[in-house]
Symmetry: C2
């Protein structure tokens, strides 16, 4: 495995591999790697001869400077994990490399980026779309792999790559969870033990909604009531949003659900001591498996 800091050096290493017919897969990360990231590497490994993991904590996607400052940074462990996972190249650019002097170009994805995290984190998806466009420009992979835990991010990136006519396959990989169901996230490292326990409210709320749907519930308001009730059982959890949306367009779901529907959650786990710190923001989601009703079903 090689640890590379500059775009020039990475291109120089990839060029002969490409010339020999190798496909290149990119797994963009912000480091603090966990088993979720490694599942993305596994997806990449199956689809390409050369696997690049980028590690770059992108400042432009943080709306909250303290969230950026507190984002975990564990480079040595990340490099060891990449080596163990069979990564070929770990690309760790500096901010100067990604945002050269005077960099002033941004990529904006329209309506898909507006609700959910786009509404509560102003500028977040502009930062994400811009840095991913840059990484795709720098690495020019045939495949790029992202986690489905960040459902809206994946949708925004798919749309961006499609709209900019990039010759890259965007692959989504399933969320990896702790044995008790908590979705893996680099931010989990910032949870104290009590908050870690209460963070299970997210997956319990998803489970509760899925169970209600399986039992025949189709009323959106009733489902969201159930979800909020489940979240409210965690006293340190403050709901950022809990919404039902179309999984493709991210438009609001109808009052009566009729097709597979995204349940998307974002919650702050507040500090035990209270105070102005908003705490640790966690997200999770599930596409609730409703049968799409077709005319044939009624005959």
């Amino acid at each position: 495995m090689e640890h590379i800091d500059t775009i020039r050096a990475l291109r120089a290493r990839l060029a002969p591999l490409r010339a020999g017919g190798a496909r290149v897969a990119l797994v963009p990360t912000m480091g603090a790697l966990h088993a979720g990231h490694l599942s993305l590497v596994k997806e990449a490994r199956q689809r390409a001869e050369a696997v690049v993991v980028s590690i770059f904590v992108n400042p432009t996607q943080f709306d909250d400077p303290s969230d950026l400052a507190k984002y975990p940074r564990t480079l040595d462990a990340d490099l060891a994990a990449c080596r163990d996972a069979g990564v070929d190249f770990v690309f760790c650019p500096t901010a100067q490399e990604m945002y050269p002097d005077g960099a002033d170009t941004s990529v904006t994805v329209g309506a898909l980026a507006e609700p959910l995290c786009g509404a509560t984190r102003p500028g977040h998806f502009r930062g994400v779309a811009t840095v991913v466009a840059k990484l795709l420009g720098a690495v020019a992979p045939q495949v790029a792999v992202f986690g489905e835990k960040d459902f809206q991010q994946l949708a925004v990136i798919r749309r961006m790559a499609r709209d900019l006519l990039l010759d890259v396959e965007i692959v989504g990989a399933p969320t990896v969870r702790e044995p008790d169901g908590l979705a893996l996230s680099s931010r989990n490292a910032r949870l104290d033990p009590e908050a870690r326990g209460q963070a299970l409210a997210l997956v319990r709320a998803l489970d509760a909604a899925e169970a209600r749907v399986a039992a025949g519930e189709r009323d959106a308001t009733a489902l969201l009531g159930e979800v909020r009730a489940e979240l409210s059982r965690a006293p340190r959890a403050v709901v950022d949003y809990a919404e039902l949306r179309d999984p493709d367009t991210l438009e609001p779901a109808p009052a009566r659900l009729e097709a597979p529907t995204l349940l998307a959650l974002a919650v702050f786990l507040r500090p035990a001591a209270g105070g102005p710190d908003p705490g640790v923001r966690l997200i999770d989601n599930r596409v609730l498996p409703l049968q799409t009703q077709t005319r044939g079903d009624e005959s």
Copy 2:
């Protein structure tokens, strides 16, 4: 020469050439090709084994719908000119191909896109940066060639490609002129004979400014006065802008010029009959060759 309509077909034709080591050059155009475009093809031809000319009248860069409607379209002549110029592939995508259903992503270049044409044509450079990013995505050339007549456009595209870390060389080619000095433009075809005569005011204004600078004038206000006096001798010319700017940053030039300075002009040639039609908008520019004063000069 091949005439190709879809990105998929173009990629399929370019892939084996690339695999054989061929470099690909792209010359993006909106058609209505003239000798200026063909000079871009010549530049491309010298730098790559495969030359692609794209012809796409991009709706998103027209702030004025009537300007879009009146933009000349001469496909048969364009194809013949490309064949004669040794172009390998003419890529003529549909709007649907360039802006697939639901396309909602835009590329914005910051401060460089704000003055001059950016100020008087709202949204123009967002449209340009977005469509050029798409063409670079679709064709993935090693080289792309643009004319220096569109000075600010070239600056915006250079910045966009650099900021998005694209592995492409952006080449600027000198403005080609009629024997009497008028810069070639597809819009010249829309000038009636009187307006064609008065359009020479642009190059006369550039010449006058260059002569004054050669004679020692350094005062920006005096130079712009000379430029406006020259333009005012064409009664059907209405100045959109006439500005002195830093050629690299496009920031306003100082009151007393001290280094090479861009003189950028945009003029409407009004219809003979008057009326609400703004007429034909022409641009031209010159970097006035002032010596940069160094400390050594003073010793």
